[in-house]
């Protein structure tokens, strides 16, 4: 019985790690602009597909491929910000979110042309049999994903709390005008937040592709789950998204295990709604803080 429970838990961790990595990307852009970037899922897809391209087609070594992929994704983030968000110069958040949706449709189209509609995959980071813990198995790649998620949290925490740029980004989120007054280059902050979040998304894509495969239209599903993770944990809270992601993943897995697999998405959502209704700013968000924000 315990073995079965453990297996459900591992399955939930695997899925949750994917959601957590996507959810984190949302927070970076939200923290500096209050926008929810609906093209976040496409950054993850870019990560997986570009990694496949560099490592399997161009046959570059693993690390070089990964670095090139992350840089390329950062560049896509830069292009997106410079060509859509910056010229918009709008305070209308809804409009900006719709623009990110339109951009995501455009990106999906481009990815479809380059990569077609087939799923892609490559070898996991370390070859070998899955680990066996008390009769339940966990893939090695899952441990990689969890490890990478942890690294990203620590690095982002340091970035937002210890560096000037990170602090500037947080300042922008709270009050753009005030940030400008104290001499912060808001336009640059927004640009960097897009680059950074695209990079985090791509890292996620690189890590999860050996587990879940990657195809051009996986973005929306990843974005929705990641968005839910970020909301459940409380928008803007780095660790919130991570805990939200794992919570949703484990909830889904337990529902599939103990109730019925057809209901897993619904039950996870119902619990998420229930949490929101009792804590309107998510598990770790503060209502007082959220009232300060425009959206």
């Amino acid at each position: 019985m315990f073995t079965v429970f453990l297996q459900f838990l591992f399955s939930g961790l695997t899925v949750g790690a994917v959601y957590a990595l996507v959810g984190m990307g949302f927070n970076i852009i939200y923290n500096s602009t209050s926008i929810i970037n609906m093209a976040q899922g496409e950054f993850v897809v870019i990560g997986g597909l570009f990694m496949w391209f560099f490592s399997e087609t161009v046959k570059l070594p693993f690390f070089l491929s990964a670095i090139l992929t992350v840089l390329a994704a950062g560049f896509v983030g830069l292009l997106m910000e410079r060509f859509t968000i910056k010229p918009l110069k709008s305070n209308d958040l809804l409009l900006m979110i719709m623009v990110t949706i339109a951009v995501s449709i455009l990106m999906r189209g481009l990815l479809m042309f380059k990569f077609g509609k087939d799923p892609y995959s490559y070898a996991p980071f370390t070859e070998g049999e899955p680990l066996n813990i008390a009769g339940a198995v966990i893939q090695q790649q899952t441990l990689w994903v969890i490890g990478i998620t942890a690294c990203c949290i620590v690095l982002l925490f340091l970035f937002f709390n210890r560096t000037m740029m990170g602090k500037a980004m947080r300042a922008c989120a709270v009050d753009t005008t005030a940030a400008k007054l104290v001499g912060i280059n808001v336009s640059r902050v927004v640009m960097i937040s897009f680059i950074l979040s695209a990079m985090v998304g791509a890292i996620g894509g690189i890590a999860i592709t050996p587990i879940s495969l990657m195809e051009y239209d996986k973005g929306p599903m990843l974005a929705v789950k990641g968005f839910c993770a970020a909301i459940m944990g409380g928008l803007g809270r780095g660790r919130g998204a991570v805990i939200g992601g794992f919570a949703i993943g484990i909830l889904e897995s337990m529902t599939a295990g103990y109730i019925h697999s057809g209901m897993k998405d619904a039950v996870a959502l119902v619990i998420m709604l229930a949490i929101l209704f009792f804590r309107p700013a998510g598990l770790f968000g503060s209502v007082a803080m959220s009232k300060l924000r425009k959206f």
Binding site: M98, L269, L276
Partner: protein, 316 residues
Amino acid sequence: MGRGNSIALVLLVLAVAGLPFVTTGSYTLTVGIFSGINALVAIGLCVLMGSAGQVSLGQAGFYGIGAYVSSVLSIKFGLPVALSMIAAMAVASAAAALLAVPALRLKGHYLAVATLGFGEIINVILNEWGPGGPSGFGDIPHLSLFGYTLSSTTSNFYFIWLCVAAGLVFSLNILNSMTGRSLRAIHGSETASIAMGLDIVALKIKVFVLSAIYASLAGALYAHYVTFISPSSFNLFYSVLALMMVVLGGITNVWGGVVGAVIITILPELLRKFEEFDVLVYGLILTLSLLFLRKGLVPLLIEKAARLKGGTDARA
């Protein structure tokens, strides 16, 4: 209802009445039918977003409830279609009211996710317990009114646009009434509205229910026109599409919903010539229109018209 609205309404009625006479076959009319169905959803969403300032990513849920409840009642329980459509709208309103009570306490992104979650839950329910499951089911009867069955494309076209026109008039009236002004006050500042003694919770719930009624009516019309439905027509992509219609047309004016819906429905038809490139061109057009139109097409046109008028006045 101002003079501009009356003129626009007359023009709309003329265009709708005339379209079947200037086109051959039913292709154009079918595009018109789906435009009308989408327009109903968009009008409801426009009222919700433009006046009450609430975002919904769950309209597909109400749209689906409308389609499924009406179809099931008419097939399984043999209810007359008109009656099952009304029942479907009632069920959707009840669902909306139940959701609205807790959900409307939420703000911004949190409300968006709550409605998104609701829509997805409805979709899972349709997949799991809907007749036919994910494969959907067919042989849904056409709508019959006073012994006349709306089976032809033209009759459906007229009836659906009649519903759109009625929906427009109704929403315009609401927006110009006490309710509408109160709603705009909420949109402006919630704190000030509460201070003025407005029951903002009740008002918000009312508008949310109203948007659900529009969406469920559209869903029922869809089901009884196409006569086949499956859950995939009522998923998150439709909710996003509805949002896109409203933002493109302009949320501050209900006509924006109609215009946006028509554009979003016709656009893929115009892009058929691009074959696979259509996804790309579609994405590009959406991005550019959002970047250039900003407030939406209708408010922009009204602004332009007003400026033009102002300009000639100044010269005269």
